[in-house]
Symmetry: C2
Subunit: 274 residues, 2 copies
DNA sequence: CTAATAGTGTCTATTAGACAGTATGTT
DNA sequence: AACATACTGTCTAATAGACACTATTAG
């Protein structure tokens, strides 16, 4: 007697077992993807033509126009489709809700507190996305009002438990603490404050041993620009000579220079993938 | 007119919206947790009484006694319950399937390829667990046969894409490559080979900037023992003086020493949480 | 010339790598 | 005594931190 195909305690082969399997035997629940999109805002210094632009780390938020959490700011997110992987779902949702396409994403963490959504049990697979804002055009196909989509600037120095999100144009300000799950009652929808915090910590951690920062930058950039981005992500100032030594291995000079800045021109570099 | 409570386009308040919300509007799917449990096997050197025990990194596998993947080795896993968080689910499943209680776990990665399970769409939140084997007793409440549960020893040197799993007592050997998702057709059930690989990479990465290794160790240990564990996890040999310098800040000497080893006694240390 | 940034040089402090050498238990 | 491991000392190489100094531009 051969033991192939294998039969279980009920004498069923795998094919027979699958035919009688009832997917409704378990609790009803949904899986969504929510993406924390970071980008850099280079704001021009108007008071002094000599000074460099100030860099700000920003996160993309969407004002919810439906229940639950109607009117609150949330991360772009949606349900995982039947025939797509989680990565595909994250990219599709991002494209549909914000118009962003072909962006760098990585899986962040999965949030599954039973009370994190009032509708039903919704488990959210959070993603981190990094984009260079100058290369993308935001749109908002799901809604008419452009004010539904905003880049909130992030203030998150090292050794602080809370982070501040500011939307200057509208004078809005959200404060996110380190509240335990399900982390409701925050000014953000659902537990999205926790997702942003998790994204920031991931970015701060990975900036030192990976090259993901370059997803935030245009193709050509100056070393000082790069250093400023390291500083706002790390939440602390760095010494220029030390930074230049460390970063040298990751970049290649182009021979091109910045112009019309009221000070010595700065060479432009490109990312060296090696 | 006050705008509180908020009403959506249909004029519904959040409470009214939730009353009419239909959770069955979306695809049927399930969420499971699967845990990669690592421990260290200290095997006594019988040929030479002087030599130190050889350390092996091992992963806990369960032989599946039901469809699908009947007869294949799998990670301990199960479905997420209605009223529990993901962490709670991982701990409960581990207790039920293996008898391990009160262990260190952390979330690893979420696997969600549509074809990763033949029954239906099952999204698996993978966990990593680290235990000191000497403190726990394995049992197998779900099954009579003790051979359903085995510690497979791991061979995974640095710069290798594949890993080898060996169960010496039974002469069994599994090879896990770096196959793309859904990573079926492996000698392990479902895509569990990928989960183990992911767990190894996480452990190898985090050993350098966190203190999670100490979860694999008994309360008191020698520096050489600790070094051996760093070596098998990192997949490369280390220099003793360098290792001792670096590890010194994390441990405290006890004044106790090993005995009866045929060579100079070794001091026992404890983990210093600082 | 001045303000502001770009970029280099260099001294010192710290850490990593390599290896020799000493210490100490059991058989 | 011999073996095997425990543990320390030290030289050198590499890296990090700190800061001074020079270079260059627009106005």
């Amino acid at each position: 007697m051969t033991n192939y195909p294998l039969r279980d305690q009920n004498g069923l082969t795998e094919a027979a077992f699958l035919r009688q399997y009832d997917p409704d035997a378990f609790e009803r629940l949904a899986v969504s993807v929510d993406t924390v999109v970071f980008s850099i805002d280079s704001r021009i210094q108007t008071e002094n033509y000599r000074k460099l632009d100030e860099q700000k780390l920003t996160v993309l938020l969407l004002k919810r126009n439906e229940h639950p959490c109607l009117g609150k700011w949330s991360l772009p997110g949606g349900f995982v489709g039947e025939k797509e992987t989680l990565d595909q779902a994250a990219l599709r949702v991002l494209r549909d809700k914000t118009g962003l396409d072909d962006v760098y994403i990585e899986q962040l963490y999965t949030f599954g507190h039973p009370q994190r959504d009032p509708r039903m049990r919704i488990i959210s697979v959070a993603y981190l996305a990094l984009i260079d804002r100058s290369q993308y055009q935001l749109k908002n196909p799901d809604s008419q009002k452009i004010t539904d989509l905003a880049w909130y600037e992030i203030d998150f120095p090292k050794n602080t438990p809370t982070l501040r999100l500011k939307w200057e144009a509208a004078g809005e300000m959200l404060e996110v603490g380190n509240s335990p799950p399900p982390a409701l009652g925050s000014p953000l929808a659902f537990d999205h404050g926790s997702l942003i915090l998790e994204g920031l910590l991931r970015l701060r951690n990975k900036i030192d041993y990976t090259d993901i920062v370059f997803n935030l930058l245009p193709g050509k950039f100056t070393i000082t620009h790069l250093q400023q981005i390291y500083e706002i992500i790390g939440g602390e100032k760095l010494l220029a000579p030390v930074f230049r030594r460390k970063i040298a291995r990751k970049i290649t000079p182009t021979g091109e220079y910045t112009q019309e800045r009221g000070h010595r021109p700065s060479q432009l570099y490109v990312y060296k993938d090696s």
